[in-house]
């Protein structure tokens, strides 16, 4: 079959089962935008290429499939570098197609020429510059294979204009042949037995579960392991939803703003079962002081993570689901009758920590969640109400800052793939476009984004996209009139010398901004308005909604482990500071 390179590209995307592409056209990618008209693929026209990238990430996070974005050369490509870096950090499968100047012009500083493969080399799992139109089907098949298998990640295809315009005989690609790419599968049996031996002898074990559990669809395997052993679980920021949080084995999230019980459980453990997680500095605090008495079983599909930060007694390069299933079977073979008694003292300590140091906040007069300033509410109260008033399987998206941490603390995740946030890169501006992409991926679910006033201003233009495409996302702005997380650090570590962190509660006017972008806007200035407004927002199903929650500007996120400190030096909420540790 004779096709243009552009047609071959679209056909190759169709062959991969792509149903949605987020993008924005321009000169170099123009030829590819023509066959899109005739394709069943839905193209969603974003207002900024960063929005396309984050939307594709949101789509990928909730569906488990690769998110696809398409941009033009030069500024189109550089605008999507941040989402690529974000997806690289959080192991999100993306395929990004970027237009490029004609091969004959490459290297001449042609109009809108950027060395896109060079620029994106460090922020992609792999990238391609297509020079031969006959390679298109193979490159696309490889790109999707790389993005979605092993440790998932972003792949970029740089697509020159003359390649798009060339005529080519389209041939179905053969099976993917990548001699240098062999992600691990089953865990090494000897390692599995060694892990089971450690588990059978452990007195203070903890499962430290990360995003890899979700990526490997290992949540059921994890639940079965916990049911068999009675071992407590913490889930990282990226791993939230990997374990149902109403389960009594769940201790919360570890890390800089984790729960006291989760942080302390890791510190006092004698065995860490690190499943699909990478000992990120936001979890470990000072590495030399992290979990000092613990042996480590580390399962990760990325061999390079094993021993990168913390030496593991049992390193297992494997698919997380297969490894957890094998370990569970090995544990069962040894018998688990002795577990309850052996773990009883550990559970007694854990229960004490969790009852003495629950996540808490100052609920204000009569516990109504009134903020310390007139006309404000407590952000944690908003989160509690939002959780109470939305379906259990609601997808929650967050920006980056204090609001993100309150969302992580005060939401309860019961299902995998219901939490979408920027963990590793911490990208302000992530929430609005990611929420849009999540809603496109799961139109059957309610999607709420909890955003900061600062973050919202970075990418809010994608609400125009949401309106135009009738994507009914809901945005809760926790408006503290500050770059709050930075203000918190200046409060704690710079003697309250606030430098360039004040925004404004009413500039911009978020309600009118929402309306100008074709959505609905509400404002909440007191606790009694919280629930009714959430309910009104929940009713709206044809347009985006923005709720401007005026929150207490001076609220801090607790607990907190100061950067570079040991997790033992966790700072708890002031109301708990006097309690014995």
């Amino acid at each position: 079959m004779e096709l243009t390179g552009a047609q071959a590209l679209i056909k190759s995307l169709e062959a991969q089962g792509v149903d949605v592409v987020f993008g924005l056209p321009g000169g170099a990618i123009l030829p590819v935008y023509d066959p899109i008209i005739d394709s069943a693929i839905r193209h969603i026209l974003v207002r900024h290429e960063q929005g396309a990238g984050h939307a594709a990430e949101g789509y990928a996070q909730v569906t488990g499939r690769a998110g696809v974005a398409m941009v033009t050369s030069g500024p189109g490509a550089t605008n999507i570098v941040t989402p690529l870096a974000d997806a690289m950090m959080d192991s999100i499968p993306l395929v990004v197609i970027a237009g490029q100047v004609a091969t004959s012009s490459i290297g001449t500083d042609a109009f809108q020429e950027v060395d896109t493969t060079g620029v994106t080399m460090g922020v992609t799992k792999h990238n391609y510059l297509v020079t031969d139109p006959a390679e298109i089907p193979t490159v696309v098949a490889e790109a999707f294979h790389l993005a979605t298998t092993g440790r998932p990640g972003p792949v970029l295809i740089d697509f020159p204009k003359d390649v798009a315009n060339a005529t080519v005989r389209y041939e179905e690609p053969g099976p993917v042949d990548l001699p240098g790419y062999t992600p691990p599968g089953e865990a090494d049996p000897a390692g599995v037995e060694a892990a089971a031996d450690l588990i059978a002898g452990a007195k203070r074990p903890v499962v430290y579960a990360g995003g890899g559990v979700l990526k490997a669809d290992a949540t059921r395997a994890l639940a079965a392991f916990v049911a068999a052993t009675g071992i407590p679980v913490v889930t990282t920021l990226m791993g939230r939803g990997a374990f149902p949080e109403s389960d009594r084995h769940f201790l919360g999230m570890p890390g800089m703003h984790g729960s006291y019980a989760a942080v302390t459980a890791l510190q006092r453990a004698d065995l860490l079962l690190a499943f699909g997680t990478r000992f990120d500095d936001r979890v470990t605090g000072r590495v030399s002081a992290f979990a000092p008495g613990a042996a480590v079983v580390h399962v990760d599909i990325d061999r390079a993570e094993l021993g990168k930060v913390r030496r593991a007694e049992v390193p297992l390069a494997a698919d997380c689901r297969l490894a957890i299933e094998a370990i569970t079977a090995a544990v069962r073979r040894r018998g688990t009758d002795a577990y309850p008694e052996r773990l009883a003292p550990w559970w007694a300590a854990l229960e004490e920590w969790r009852t003495r140091f629950p996540l808490t906040y100052d609920r204000g007069e009569d516990g109504r969640g009134v903020g310390g300033q007139p006309g404000t509410v407590k952000p944690q109260f908003v989160l509690e109400e939002l959780r109470r008033l939305t379906p259990e399987d609601t997808i929650l998206v967050a920006g980056v800052g204090q609001h993100q941490m309150w969302a992580a603390q005060f939401w309860r995740f019961e299902h995998p793939r219901t939490w979408v946030n920027s963990g590793g890169l911490g990208t302000m501006g992530f929430a609005v476009p990611a929420a849009l992409g999540a809603k496109v991926g799961r139109p059957d679910r309610m999607v709420w984004a909890v955003d900061g006033d600062g973050c919202f201003q970075m990418t809010a233009q994608e609400l125009v996209t949401a309106s135009a495409e009738q994507i009914p996302v809901k945005i809760a702005i926790l408006n503290n009139a500050y770059l709050g997380m930075v203000r918190q650090w200046q409060h704690m570590f710079y003697e309250e010398r606030y430098s360039e962190v004040y925004l404004s509660p009413d500039l911009p006017d978020y309600v009118r901004w929402a309306e100008a972008m074709g959505g609905v806007g509400f404002r909440v200035t007191g606790p009694e308005e919280v629930a009714p407004t959430i309910e009104k927002a929940n009713e709206i199903d044809d347009r985006p909604v923005v709720v401007d929650f005026r929150i207490d500007s001076m609220e801090q996120v607790y607990p907190m482990v100061p950067a570079g400190a040991s997790n033992d030096d966790i700072v708890v909420h002031p109301s708990q500071a006097h309690l014995p540790r």
């Binding site: 493969t117 060079g118 080399m121 020079t131 790389l146 990548l178 240098g180 390079a304 094993l306 990168k308």
Partner: protein, 168 residues
């Protein structure tokens, strides 16, 4: 940078696909992750689809494991071997142009003959020699040449292959 020695010196041999940008990927990985390359040599192999890259790095063993694991993630890197000195043939090529009086130059010609080198060109005050061999021998020769005035010196970086019967 002085030459790495002892337990910190590692010769890593990579078999890579001959694709555009593969060297940039390798070099980029080293700089991105803060690892140093001491020398690097790259050329096609007997199979035109692949090239072999020999890299000498100056690292502790634990860090080396991390470098190897990260290199292994590069899609175009097909195979990685650390060539231990006892298990490998190592070689390198050196060119040096040296200036000196007649006597000094004569001494250098003498030395290069002793080291198995070759004089490529003799000028009025300078001469250019070529020497191939194990890196340690080249080091020794280079030290000798440094007692004269070196006008230009270029080494290729170490290349290596496993010895017959060595574990591959």
């Amino acid at each position: 940078m002085s030459a790495p020695t002892g337990a910190r010196r590692h010769l890593v041999s990579l078999l890579v696909e001959n694709r555009a940008g593969v060297l940039a990927r390798i070099a980029g990985l080293f700089s991105r992750r803060g690892f140093n390359i001491f020398s690097l040599a790259v050329a096609p192999t007997e199979d035109e689809r692949f090239s072999r890259v020999s890299i000498v790095v100056d690292l502790e063993s634990a860090t080396l494991d991390q470098v190897l694991a990260q290199l292994d993630k590069l899609v175009n890197v097909v195979a990685i071997n650390e060539l231990r000195p006892e298990d490998a043939h190592e070689a390198e090529l050196l060119l040096a142009t040296v200036a000196g009086d007649t006597e000094a130059r004569a001494a250098l010609v003498d030395a290069s003959t002793r080291f198995g080198g070759r004089v490529l060109e003799v000028g009025e005050e300078t001469l250019t020699v070529q020497l191939a061999g194990p890196p340690a021998v080249l080091d020794e020769f280079e030290a000798l040449a440094r007692t004269l005035r070196i006008v230009g010196l270029q080494r290729t970086g170490t290349i290596g292959l496993p010895k017959l019967g060595a574990p591959r």
